[in-house]
Amino acid sequence: MEGYVLALLALATLLPAFCAAICYVIKNRAVRNFVVVVNTLVLFFITWEFVRLLMGSNGSIRINEGSLPAHLGEVIKYLDVLLLGFIGYQGLKLKKPLIVALTLAQLVPVIFFEFFMGVHEPTAAFVIDYLSVVLILLISLVGPIIAIFAIGYMEEHEHHLHLAKTKQPAFFMVIIGFLGAMNALVMTNNLSWMYFFWEVTTLCSFLLIKHDENEISITNAVRALWMNLTGGVAFIAAIIIIYQVKGTLSVEDIAVAPVAGAFTGLFPIALGLLCIAGFTKSAQFPFQSWLLGAMVAPTPVSALLHSSTMVKAGVYLVVRIAPAFIGTILGDMVAIAGAFTFMAASAVAISQSNAKRVLAYSTIANLGLIICCAGIGNYVALAAAILLIVFHGVSKGLLFLCVGTIEQGIGSRNIEDMQGVMKIMPVTTIIMVIGMISMLLPPFGVLITKWLAIEAAVSMPLVLLLIVLGSACTVVFWSKWIGTVLTMSYKPKYAIENIPTSIKAALGILILAVFVVCVGIAPMYNALIDPQLKAFHLTDKIQLIGSQGGLWLTGGSNVAIGGFAVLAVFTIILALFIAIPYYLHKGKSADLRAPYLCGENIDSDLRGAEFMGPGEKPAGTLVRNYYLTGAFGEEKLTHVLNLIAGAIIMLMLGMVIR
C-alpha cells in the first residue's frame, strides 16, 4: 500500500520533471507533443488514484520520512542552495542588485538554518488530505490541458515572431516542470520542503515570463522575480521563527487552532509573514503588478499562472494555515486585506480595455476573495474559499485560452476590437461567453462562492462592505465585455473557424469541466470539501450542507437559513437555453431591419456599421464602452490603493506584534 502511494507520489512530482527533461533534450516536435500528451494522461490517472486512495483512507494519506529514500532531505537542502544560487546568478547576469540582495537575504538564513541548526525533519514528510487533493485535481487536470493547448498555440506564436531557432523545448520544459513542483508543494507536510518548491515555482514563473526575451518581458520577469523573492524572504523568516517557537516544521502541527493564550509572542508574527508570502505569490495589492506584467508572456503561461499554478500556491498556503489564526486579530486583518484587494482589483478592472489585463485583475480580485474567506475563517467562509479555488481555476484557465485563441484570430487583445468576433470565430466566442458567464452569473460556481462569502462575512461589516462594492464592480466589467463580444449583425450561416486540434481539445475539455464542477457542486462539496472542513475542527454553529443538488446553510437546528438549489436552476436554464433557440429556429424567421440611425442608414448595410454622413459620404459609427478612467483609472488609483494595501499589511504585522 505504502509503496504504491510512494510510487504515485514520485510519479506526480518526478514524471513532469522527467518529461520536462525529455522536452528539453530531444528537440523533436513529434516527440515533444507525444511526451506532453503522455504526461497529461498519466497525471489524470494519478489524480484519479489519489482521489480513490483518499476516499478509502481515514482522512489523509501519509508518507513518513522513513519510507522515503534516504538522504532525500539532504538532497533537497543542497538543491535549495543550488536553486537560490541560480536565481542569484540570473540577478547578476541581468545586473539587478535588488535580486542579488533578496537572494542573499534568503541564502544566508537558508544555509544557517539548514546546515547549522540541526533541524529535525517532521516524521510525516507528505500528508495528502482533502485540500491537497482538491489542489492536485486542479493542477493535474487544468495544468496539462493548458500544456496541450500550448502545443498548437506556440506553433502559431513562433510563426508570428519569425524565430531562427525554436525556443519551444525550453518552454515546455519549464511548463511541465512547473506542474511537478506545484504537485509537490501541495502534498508536502514539511515547511522547509514547501519553501523549496515555492522557490521552484518562483523561478519557473520568472523563466516563463521572460520567455520572449524582449525588453519588456525581461523587465516584467525581473519584477515578478523580486516581488516573489520578497515573499520568499518572509517565508524563510517565518520558518526560522516557527522552528524556534514550536520546534517543528510539520505543517499539520502548525496549522491547528490556537489554545487559549497561545496566540502571543513570535508565533503570530511568523504566521503573518507566511500570509505575506502568500500575498506576494497570489499577487494581492500591493504586490499585484508582477501578475499584470506577466501578461507579456505567451497566453498558455498566463493561463497557467492564473488558473492552476503559481497564484494558487499563495492562496493554498493561506488556507492551509488558516486554522492557526481563525478568530484572532490576524485572521481579521487577513480578511480585510483580502477583501480590500477584491474591491480594489474589481474597481480598477472597470477601467481596463485590454482583455488580458481585465482577466488579470479579475484573478487578483478572486484570489483576494479566497484570502478574505480564509481570514474570516468560519465554516461557510472556508467552504467558499476552497470552492472558489476550484471554480476560479477552471473558469479562468478556460478564459485565458479563449482570449489567446481570439487574439491569434483577430490580432488584438483589446476588448473594443472584439466587436463582431462572433462572426469570425463563433465557436470560440460562445465558449468564451460561457466562461465569462460562469465567472459572473448564477447558477455557476463563482457566483455561488461569492454568495457564500457574503453570507459568511456577516460578522465583519467592513469586509462585507468591501465585498459588496467589489461585486458590484465585477458586474460592470464582465457585462460590458460579454455585451461587446456578443455584438453581431445578421448572418445567415456561421462558418466554424479553423483552429488547431490541440486548442480545440483543450477548450472542449475545459468547457466540459466548467459545467461538471457546476452541476456536481453538491457531490463535490460532500466528497472533498466538507471532510476537509470537518478536519479543521471548526466550532461554528452555522454549517453548510450539500443536498438536493444545491448548497444549504443551516443554523443550530436543521433549519435552512439560506440556500440555493443549484442543480434545479441549472437544469431549467440549460433546458431554456436549448429550447429557446430551437423554438426560435423552428418559428418563422424574423424580418431583418438595420439598426435605427435617424434614417441615415446606407441601404445595403444591414449591420448599421455605417451611416450617410455629411456630403452624402458614408461615415462609420463607433461606440465604445464606458471605462470610467476618470474615477477608476489605473494610473490614478494604483498608487493610492498600493499605499492603503501596504498600510493594511503593516497594520496586520503591527497588530500581532502587540
Binding site: K588, D591, R593, A594, Y596, C598, G599, E600, N601, D603, M612
Partner: protein, 159 residues
C-alpha cells in the same frame, strides 16, 4: 372587432417626421401632446423611434435629400403601420410644390393613408385625422397577415 384590433385602435404610437417643413405644422403637432389637447387620452404617445411606432406623422414636402431618409424611416416601422400627412405641404408640396428642388408631398415616396390639410392645421384637426385614420388598422393587419402567409408559402415552395 377582437382584442388585438381594439388594442391597435387604442394604442397608436406615433413617430413625428419633419420632412423639410417650415415648423408651422410641427408646432401644431406638438401642441396636440400638451395638457390642453392631451392626445394620450387616446393612448397616443410620441415614441420617436420608428421601430416602436404605429403611425408616422409626416409634415412638410419632400426633396431629394429627405426622400431617402423618409423612405428609410418608413421601412423600419413594423407592420401594420399608418402614415398621416399633415398640412398643405404634406398633401401636395403646398406653396413649395413648384420649386426646382421639391418632389412634392410625402406620397411621392411612401404610401400615405390620411391627409390633414391646412397651413397649418389646428391641433383639433390633427387629432381628428389621427383618430379617423385608426379605422384603417384592421384592413392593414389583414393585408399584413396575407402577405406573411404568401411569404411562408413561397418559402415552403422554395424549400
Amino acid at each position: 372587432m377582437g382584442l388585438m384590433n381594439t388594442s391597435r385602435m387604442k394604442s397608436p404610437w406615433i413617430i413625428h417626421v419633419n420632412c423639410t417643413a417650415c415648423n408651422g405644422c410641427d408646432i401644431e403637432v406638438v401642441a396636440a401632446l400638451t395638457p390642453m389637447f392631451d392626445v394620450e387620452r387616446f393612448g397616443i404617445v410620441n415614441v420617436g423611434n420608428p421601430k416602436h411606432a404605429d403611425v408616422m406623422v409626416v409634415t412638410g414636402c419632400v426633396n431629394p435629400k429627405t426622400a431617402r431618409v423618409l423612405k428609410n424611416i418608413y421601412d423600419q416601422m413594423p407592420e401594420p403601420k399608418l402614415v398621416l400627412a399633415i398640412g398643405a405641404c404634406g398633401g401636395t408640396g403646398g406653396i413649395f410644390a413648384e420649386c426646382y428642388n421639391v418632389l412634392g408631398g410625402p406620397d411621392k415616396v411612401i404610401p400615405v393613408d390620411a391627409y390633414v390639410p391646412g397651413c397649418p392645421p389646428r391641433p383639433e384637426a390633427i387629432i381628428d385625422g389621427a383618430v379617423a385614420a385608426l379605422g384603417l388598422f384592421e384592413a392593414k393587419a389583414k393585408a399584413m397577415k396575407e402577405k406573411a402567409k404568401k411569404a411562408a408559402e413561397k418559402a415552403k415552395a422554395e424549400a
